[in-house]
Symmetry: C2
Subunit: 442 residues, 2 copies
Amino acid sequence: MTDTPSLDPYKGVRDFYPEDQFVQRYLYAVMRESVESFGYEEYDASLLEPAELYEAKSSEEIVNEQTYTFTDRGERRVTLRPEMTPTVARMVAKRRKELALPIRWFTIANLFRYERPQKGRLREHVQLNADMFGLSGREADAEIVELAASILLNAGATMDDFVIYISSRGLLGDLFELYGVDTATRPALTRLLDKKNKMDENDFRDKTAELLGERTNDFLATVSSAEATIKMLGDDHQALRELTELVSDLHARGIDNVRILPTLVRGFDYYTDMVFEVYDTDPENNRSMFGGGRYDNLLATFGTEPTPAVGFGMGDVTLYEFLASRDLIPAYRSNADLALCRVDAAVAKDCNALANRLRTRHGIHVRVDLTDRKVGDQITGADKSGIPFVICVGPNEIKSGQYTVKQLSTGTEKTVAEDEILNALEELAVTDEESPEWTSEV
Amino acid sequence: MTDTPSLDPYKGVRDFYPEDQFVQRYLYAVMRESVESFGYEEYDASLLEPAELYEAKSSEEIVNEQTYTFTDRGERRVTLRPEMTPTVARMVAKRRKELALPIRWFTIANLFRYERPQKGRLREHVQLNADMFGLSGREADAEIVELAASILLNAGATMDDFVIYISSRGLLGDLFELYGVDTATRPALTRLLDKKNKMDENDFRDKTAELLGERTNDFLATVSSAEATIKMLGDDHQALRELTELVSDLHARGIDNVRILPTLVRGFDYYTDMVFEVYDTDPENNRSMFGGGRYDNLLATFGTEPTPAVGFGMGDVTLYEFLASRDLIPAYRSNADLALCRVDAAVAKDCNALANRLRTRHGIHVRVDLTDRKVGDQITGADKSGIPFVICVGPNEIKSGQYTVKQLSTGTEKTVAEDEILNALEELAVTDEESPEWTSEV
């Protein structure tokens, strides 16, 4: 016997069996319906990008250590995209003159990072990205933050389940200025602040002291809370005032869980102004889930005129964990609504014709059992596959045109003519409160 | 100024701007709705696969010359999947004992081939794959062929727009036997037959003569048509009879454009029995669009017990070209149903609140114009973006609670209360026959 290939997927990526894909489709539908309700339009692109796209713009760590980059047979360097922002910026830049700005776009796309696989750190994950191009200012920022929050709310979460932290590059710059942090020290201090929540508190303080020396205690006291920062900078400090007004705008939009967090940084170098991050408030899972911000200078790196931009990205794994911990993921059900079980192979042709009419005239998802096993086994098979309804078809049914719909979860039966089968499925699904809605339009 | 990165995507792949993605979504919806109506369940997997998955099973040309294969930093050889069948076979093999066979699965997945880019030959395309595992025999074959045809029919094509050719490995083997083609010559002759339609007729005949010598004319006469083959092999020849019965089964299923084509091969080595290909009958585009077949031995290569399997793949580009040439692709419309234009920035908060209620209570896709440009320019902007309806919101509207819905394609207006806005959109969309349906549930 020759060597058999492994049954496992490549390290760090996922197989989605139908039960898993059912959950993925639910997550994508929640994302898609939310952003579409705000009128965002879907775009897409290949995950293969020229490597040069990332070399100028992403954070160094990502380009050098975390991308899948290889050389193709034409000596081109190709990267599997690690994030979507450079791609959408490239696409907008390419048609900058034809596009009627502002534009609102989204995509649900897979991203790749070369990391050691560990819990929650996959090499491939799927991310919603939503961006607005062509509008600067607070109102566009507020819409993007509301949009991000609306996804969690539409999925059934409450405002208490998460908190939105906001800050801005301007605020951080002014704080650096106030404490005399020189230009050379700023990138290292910024990266340190970005890792604050993942670090031991003392370790964070020691590393900050290495950069700031005797200013450390004063600096950390000032950035420890919004109140402390406001006290130090004053009420009419511009960057702070802009953030306060954003909080107020969002409150008027019904989003009342927004807080200023002066140490909020976000890793990507291209952010220019407002940044935000959404945290899970569950004490057992208190961490940043996703976020975004304003990046007004990125398009100009493609040689086009400056174009303001603001957006965010939300990963499938973090959304899943957030919803699953609150029991907000629906139970699996088969995509098939109805199984036709044949009592006798002699009715095969009639049975296929019936299935065809139920599919094309009534939109019912019909699976025909072709196995010729015993009828009882056909019914058991349908039940095992999670199909909610069966009809057993024999010569009597074909002759009379009357079919008995059986709901497997309850055993309830109803005998109806062909044109009434759809109604029967709907009625039985409603009367069985345990059973999920029969329609599978996720 | 530093070098700016290119605005173009990687060679041979596509960017999908919203207008392009609208078409893609239509194609995916047609594929998905058709296979789901037969009760097929969706699965998915990463496009990264261990290279060894392909080394045993695909045709040699694909593995050696046409795959993207690279070595990761952990010295693993990784391939960007060139086809989906090895992946689904791996997944089924892994859970062979738990799965309640037969199973019906589908996916819409992107595939990669390293080819010189040319018209219609992309390096990445998207393909529907639908497969049934665990059932051998004619009925399963018939369902798969009907399913393939149903996609074209559901998209608006007629039975005259395409023809389905079928053949089998058994028929080909018997023809080889009849003409004494030895085992060593068979693979080369099979590959030659597979390329028949892409070759010049004389060239094909010459190359066949190199392999068959003086048997060439007899062989080619026999395989030139189903009738000639039947005449030579006789009515009760088993492989031919099975194909004839399959044609008859499909006819009973309403698919009456199926023909036996003895020279039909299909490129993949793993087919074991029935194979089929769907051809466009348009004389200007007469070619194979897609196909599939039975591959009963593939799962056993993973060391599991033998499991019959039959399926097909259909690419997005060929489906698009087939539908576009028959004017069966719907016209683009924005995903946004309604633009709210602000007469005065003072109503900003009320306008956002109105938008929120229209989205969450009525399911309307609402874009709020945040630009503060003149109202006429806001309306023009909505029109340019393809949004079908606008409401201009000022202090009067907020005070009275009465809103004037304007349809941009006709200029028709209707003034209604907030709770009647959805009805107004639906009524105006119906009365404007030029306009596409307002609901965007594709």
